[in-house]
């Protein structure tokens, strides 16, 4: 049972990490607590739902849904946040503005599409589970693991290994100075919105595929865990989010499996409190993206 529980934990943790990646990027660079992030997650899942219902295969629907969610993010973020950024508003303002916006978006989407839970068409990925030495794992779960790994690598490459990444890090450190150095910060902010939204969208597709439940509020339900992962991992710390996500998943599963399932939720948030008490800059002490 322990082996299966560890695998359960790693898979759950991978969904947390996948969800948190774009959130931590947005948080670390734009210094914006962007709660609309959960909506981009929902949007990605719905785009994939519509495309696959039209007969698209998953390999095509996944990237297109992610890109579409990224576009949605660019539009909504620029509407909501450009003004705040110009006014040098603090993090609390962005928190309140995006909180209001995301609640309006969820409610609007529910009014438009209804609250029903939808499923991606059956047979999109192999429905059966692979049985490896008594440990069961499904194709969707393998996809999530692979996607979490690949996206972390791509994101690290973008931030550390490209000129755009240099600009992003400069902007994270000091947006005004970056602007004076000739970096087009507005365009870069839009790019970060796009990447973050696309990551959220990809997460929405894969997590929707795994739990087979797509509905307007699905992003809201991931948001609290997302917060724990991003804060415990260190704001803007990409590798930190991956490790914190996996740790949270494994700890939750082991708590439920060996202590009491009623304590599963409590443990995640106790970890958050403990981390903030002892390591206020995150588990790995590398709080901002330029240390990523």
């Amino acid at each position: 049972m322990l082996a299966q529980q560890l695998v359960n934990g790693i898979l759950l943790g991978a969904t947390y990490a996948l969800f948190a990646l774009g959130f931590t990027l947005m948080f670390g660079v734009l210094r914006v607590i962007n709660l609309v992030y959960g909506f981009y997650f929902t949007a990605g899942a719905f785009f994939a739902l519509w495309l696959t219902q039209d007969g698209w295969p998953l390999v095509a629907a996944l990237p297109v849904a992610a890109l579409a969610a990224g576009m949605v993010a660019v539009v909504i973020d620029s509407l909501l946040l450009t003004r705040l950024r110009r006014a040098h508003a603090d993090e609390l303002s962005s928190l309140m503005v995006t909180l209001g916006a995301v609640l309006a978006l969820y409610a609007g989407m529910t009014a438009w599409l209804g609250p029903d839970i939808r499923r991606l068409p059956a047979g999109l990925v192999g429905a059966g589970a692979l049985d490896l030495l008594g440990i069961r794992i499904t194709v969707a779960q393998l996809l999530i693991l692979a996607a979490a790994g690949v996206l972390v690598a791509l994101l690290l490459w973008l931030v550390r290994g490209t000129k755009i990444g240099l600009g992003i890090r400069a902007m994270a450190e000091n947006p005004d100075a970056a602007s004076l150095m000739g970096i087009d910060t507005a365009r870069l902010a839009a790019l970060v919105s796009f990447v973050s939204g696309a990551l959220a969208g990809a997460g929405g597709v894969l997590i929707g595929l795994n739990f087979n439940a797509i509905h307007p509020y699905m992003g809201e339900q991931m948001m609290l865990r997302g917060f724990v992962v991003v804060i415990a991992g260190g704001l803007g710390d990409i590798v930190g989010a991956l490790i914190a996500g996996l740790l949270l998943g494994v700890i939750e599963v082991l708590t439920a499996g060996y202590i009491a399932s009623s304590l599963k939720e409590a443990v995640g948030f106790l970890i958050l409190v403990a981390v903030l008490w002892t390591r206020p800059r995150g588990l790995f002490g590398r709080a901002e993206i330029w240390r990523a």
């Binding site: 049972m1 529910t110 209804g114 059956a122 589970a129 339900q221 439920a256 599963k264």
Partner: protein, 371 residues
Amino acid sequence: MRRRIALAAALALAVAWPAHAAEPVPVGAVEILSGPNAAYGTAIKAGLDLALAAVNAKGVLGGRPIALTVEDSGGTKDGAINAARKLIGRDKVVALIGPTLSNEMFAVGPVANARGVPTIGTSTTAKGITDIGPFIFRTSLPEADVVPVTLKKAIARGVKTIALLYANDDAFSKSSFDTMQAAAAAAGLTILDVESFGSKDTDFSAQLTKIKSEKPDAVGIAALVEPTSGVLLQARQLGFGKETLFIGGNGANSPKLGQIAGAAADGLIVGSPWFAAKPDPSNTAFVAAFRDKYGKDPDQFAAQAYDTLLILAEAIDRAGAAEPTKIRDALLATDHTGPMGPFRFTDHRDPASTEGVVVLELEGGAFRIAE
């Protein structure tokens, strides 16, 4: 001059209005129309609207229409209390229908009871609902009456051991679990394990892996339909097969289960106070009218809501006046036959009969009567 005419007209209207025979009888409903549990409230509202059209075709108290105001609770206790206060204070309703969840009823019930407004839960199955006070009724059969019928079916199929899994953060699921646990013990089943989860969780793998290692004959799930679907989907991923009988609580009794969980839900059994394919004439008429109006099949929640508004309209007629206390007394004398079957209230304002309970089994994503 013009002002004087307007004044006279207004006066005439004010004098004429109360005497008008068609003055509507205000009735309120508090249901979840937004948020993650809006599916229940939406089904209930559809049932109420359908019944309202039928009632208002001839009216109550000699031709007065019922004016039904449905307020959204958003699924929270606060939202439900605000909605009820608004209906009682602003709209002066003579009776309330709802709220949707037992959780909300425990918040709204005491308020409505103190104000002397008869309140009828159509979907509140938790223990203790009608203990709130003498103005609180329900038309939904408490789960304690339904679950033993389901377990009897399970035992007839050779089930001896059971593991229970429930959502520990809402009153509906917790009460469902308490009922299932008590009924399982009373029926002589061995309870191997009890696990819980949060009703918004999407991952149940840890709990299911633990249950699987204990090899129970049956797994009882006490939760709303969304998490129940999630549990079943993940149980199949983890290798639960036909050798394990899944038993649903009242939350599993929704066509949504098959829609969300698909083939993963096949084989689950659940007791139901109502079934769309029940062949009696008032039920077939209701199902046909519902399909006609909404283009889809009703669920149990719509049927219960439909019957409840008819029961209330009959009580208003018997009361002879649109007065809450008289309506409350008239409700106690209910003798109604509708889609739910024959219906009367006990002295404690709960449904009196369980003869209509059917055990259903999911097959190919749809319910049929279990053998």
